[in-house]
């Protein structure tokens, strides 16, 4: 695996003094974070805290203003294309073309991700999300929850080691939400590294090993699920976000 800078191989993601501004508006203000291979991180925060911007920077959708981000040993500034090959992204947007069928959408993404044996893989991931019977249905005719399931299938096509999830549960029912986590947590052999942003403290507490609170572009709280309970997390969330409200 390629290496970049003085990064430890233990870390799937290493973020150093990350800032992001849009004009004079500073959204991220010096984020420092290390995430180990296979670790699940949940980032909570109120609207405008910078959660989505952080995910977009990690996903290489937008460029960082300063600082350094290394994913799987690769600096995202210099080797963005290789980084993208190793990450899967699910957001509240589906990234699906409404006038194409689920199969055509997945075929398109398989081609640009160079997925081998794409028909077999498309069938596998659609089976995984319980949507195999809708494979040849136009995405625009599917319900929001079904579209989100196809989105999850899309994100898993290239079997990424790292998943970036920005409020991925949009439109999903209880059953689909559990399916989402089953599909996300392992690639069949080893645990994926997960970064998950949400407003839902209860759900985040269930799935995250490390729990962070982001407010006004800074990490204002960090705790481990092993030493916290849900009420302690709620208290921490209120105290850390109320101060800035």
């Amino acid at each position: 695996m390629a290496k970049a800078g003085s990064v430890s191989q233990d870390y799937a993601i290493e973020i150093r003094e990350l800032t992001k501004s849009f004009g004079h508006n500073r959204i991220l203000r010096g984020i420092n974070l290390e995430i180990k291979q296979g670790e699940s991180i949940v980032i909570f925060g109120p609207n405008g805290a910078g959660k989505t911007t952080l995910i977009k920077v990690l996903a290489t959708i937008i460029t960082l203003s300063s600082g350094k981000v290394v994913i799987d040993g690769l600096d995202i500034k210099d080797r963005a294309e290789e980084v993208r090959r190793r990450i899967g992204v699910v957001t509240h947007q589906t990234f699906l073309y409404q006038n194409l069928t689920a199969y055509e959408n997945l075929e398109f993404y398989s081609r640009i991700y160079d997925v081998p044996e794409l028909k077999k893989r498309i069938n596998e991931v659609m089976e995984m999300v319980g949507m195999i019977s809708r494979l040849h249905q136009r995405v625009g005719t599917l319900s929001r929850g079904m579209q989100q399931r196809v989105t999850i299938a899309r994100s898993l096509l290239h079997n990424p080691a790292i998943m970036l999830l920005d409020e991925p549960e949009t439109g999903l029912d209880q059953q689909a939400t559990s399916m989402l986590w089953d599909a996300m947590q392992t690639d069949g052999q080893k645990k994926r590294t997960l970064i998950f942003t949400t407003h839902n403290l209860e759900r985040g507490f269930e799935v995250g090993e490390r729990l962070l609170i982001l407010d006004k572009g800074r990490i204002v709280y960090e705790g481990s699920r092993q030493v916290l309970d849900l009420s302690a997390l709620e208290k921490a969330y209120k105290s850390n976000t109320m101060v800035s409200a």
């Binding site: 849009f22 993208r84 990234f95 699906l96 194409l100 055509e104 398109f108 991700y113 160079d114």
Partner: protein, 223 residues
């Protein structure tokens, strides 16, 4: 090689979506035919006047139809939330640009191929010359090269459908003027040598704006 595979995938996806909905093609085709009919009512009876303004009418029609088509190129991606899907995929931003550009180029050339015989019919002009075909293809390449870039730029603005023509048309004035002048000579039956200087301007515009658009697209799309 991978670059061209990705370009082909994007162009094919756009073609498939368009063949299914015919959203852009039908709107642009109807617009083009309406403009030709309006010009026919305005100038149709006097053949002398028609000969004087024919190439201008042709390129005004193609330019506005082109703007209409280019406007949709990135709006569809944006509206369906797919632009970010392309941006998180392991493909270069340049491949996105070339893929989208080739898709738009194909559609606009098809519209022009349909519009030219209609134009010939309404204005009683011989538009079926190799010269006019070459001028049309070369001009459309330059037009779409710049238009795809500006379409990506406009898509992140609020009044995106108005922003594109305002930003884009001033930039393409040189190539439109050259196309009008070259087409005028072609419609008058002049030789290739008399067209050379205008064709040189068109080709130079194509090369410059293809290279510039290719190089700056990543900055335009990211912020």
């Amino acid at each position: 090689m991978r670059f061209w595979r990705n370009v082909a995938a994007i162009t094919w996806k756009d073609a498939l979506a368009e063949m299914r909905t015919k959203e852009i093609a039908s709107a642009v085709l109807v617009f083009t035919l309406l403009v030709i009919i309006i010009f026919n009512f305005a100038f149709g009876v006097n053949q002398e006047v028609v000969r004087l303004v024919a190439s201008g009418m042709l390129w005004v029609t193609f330019a506005f139809a082109g703007v209409l088509a280019l406007n949709r190129a990135f709006i569809v991606e944006k509206e369906e939330g797919c632009l970010e899907g392309l941006m998180v995929a392991p493909i270069s931003r340049e491949a996105i640009y070339v893929g989208k550009m080739l898709g738009s180029l194909f559609f606009i050339l098809v519209i022009e191929a349909i519009a030219l015989p209609v134009f010939a019919f309404f204005f009683n002009l011989n538009v079926f010359s190799l010269q006019l075909v070459v001028i049309t293809i070369l001009t459309t390449i330059g037009f779409v090269a710049v238009g795809t870039l500006f379409s990506a730029l406009a898509v992140n603005t609020k009044a995106r459908e108005m922003v594109l023509p305002i930003l884009f048309l001033p930039i393409v004035i040189p190539i439109i003027i050259s196309a009008v002048k070259a087409s005028e000579l072609a419609l008058s039956g002049e030789s290739w040598s008399s067209l050379t200087s205008w064709l040189q301007i068109i080709v130079a515009f194509d090369v410059i704006f293809l290279v510039v658009s290719f190089l700056v697209f990543a900055f335009v799309i990211e912020e």
